[in-house]
Symmetry: C2
Subunit: 216 residues, 2 copies
């Protein structure tokens, strides 16, 4: 019922819970279960059952009253919805500790993401191999991205270089950026920027720890 034909975007909190469900559901599936109900999920995850129903509904899955959801079907629906059933190529910029770890972290391959090349600005790093992948000069990123139809960029450079790298990515036609630098990145509206701000989590952790130590 909307003129532009656009669905209302799925709320981010819902989207972030889906991988949590997925992990739990896959374990159930591997354990031989065939169906699952929201109350079972709720007991395990300590979420509200109504919330779980609403969350799962966005994937298009239908449950059966009194029975629950078909587990195999549900896992597949979540994977398809999150884009984990196909694989997209990604470029990573910044072959430092964190970047190299992500390149070597093969598990993302089963979650829709294949890091096909790493880039850096530092001549000392260029040409080196990181987990069997050669580190390329960052200047080559835009052309290569276009030629290889790479739509995802991962930024693991230090904060001062992040915007510059993002600009190169946008120039290369990249449409989604996973940003590990603790800084805001400007990009056109049709480019998705998702921040993974480790310092934010660290700040929350330390503040809450200090609070409980002071009060407890």
């Amino acid at each position: 019922m909307n003129l532009k034909g656009h669905q209302r975007a799925v709320p981010e909190p819902t989207l972030r819970r889906l991988p949590v469900y997925h992990h739990m559901l896959r374990q159930c599936l591997d354990g031989g279960m065939e169906t699952v109900s929201c109350s079972q999920i709720a007991d395990e995850l300590h979420y509200d059952p109504t919330q779980i129903r609403k969350d799962l509904a966005v994937t298009g899955i239908k449950g059966r009253p009194k029975v629950g959801y078909d587990l195999a079907e549900l896992v597949d629906a979540v994977e398809t919805f999150l884009g984990w059933n196909s694989t997209r190529k990604a470029f990573l910029a910044g072959a430092g500790h964190l970047g190299s770890a992500l390149v070597g972290y093969g598990r993302f391959n089963r979650y829709g993401l294949e890091i096909v090349a790493a880039f850096d600005r530092d001549p000392a790093r260029i040409g080196r191999k990181v987990h069997d992948r050669e580190v390329l000069p960052i200047t080559k990123l835009p052309n290569l991205a276009r030629r290889m139809h790479v739509l995802i960029g991962i930024i693991t450079v230090p904060a001062p270089a992040a915007q510059e790298v993002a600009d190169l990515m946008v120039q290369g036609g990249i449409r989604a950026i996973w940003n590990f630098a603790p800084t805001r990145i400007e990009a056109p509206d049709d480019v998705i920027v998702q921040n993974e701000d480790l310092y934010a989590t660290l700040g929350v952790l330390l503040q809450r720890l200090n609070t409980t130590l002071r009060e407890g």
Copy 2:
């Protein structure tokens, strides 16, 4: 006024924005600025000015009408509030790619966190050096944590081992856990668990990318 003397916990969204302010404010400070107003911050970060004022207020800082905030004072207030002005020791469990990267990532030292030892279950990893730190057997974690008064644990083991490792940490008196495994961890109420769920961010990124590609 509340009988137990506890402050209402600062909302997590506010807490997660403070590091973002901090990064920007420090840059301003390094650039020679002396005061900053909420509208300046808002222009840069694209946040609502009222929200910024409320967020900053939790640190106890006072601004001056018509002038704004004293920048040096503000940066210090944020750092102190987040616990970035002192350093706490942390143990890391799981010396794989990601764990090793975090151990080698020295920048956390200036943000309140010093990773003093890495642990693993795998005999092939135990005894090896990771960025000049020897990898210790995970079984030694509880005793060492108590002896060294380590209150923070970082979990970078695979999901199936995460709960077991968390239990060892709790047993060793650890009070805050930074969990990189994509699984829920059970811990006593007085132990803080902060999840860094890379798969959640990845899922959001891919789902939104697929949506825009389909619609655009």
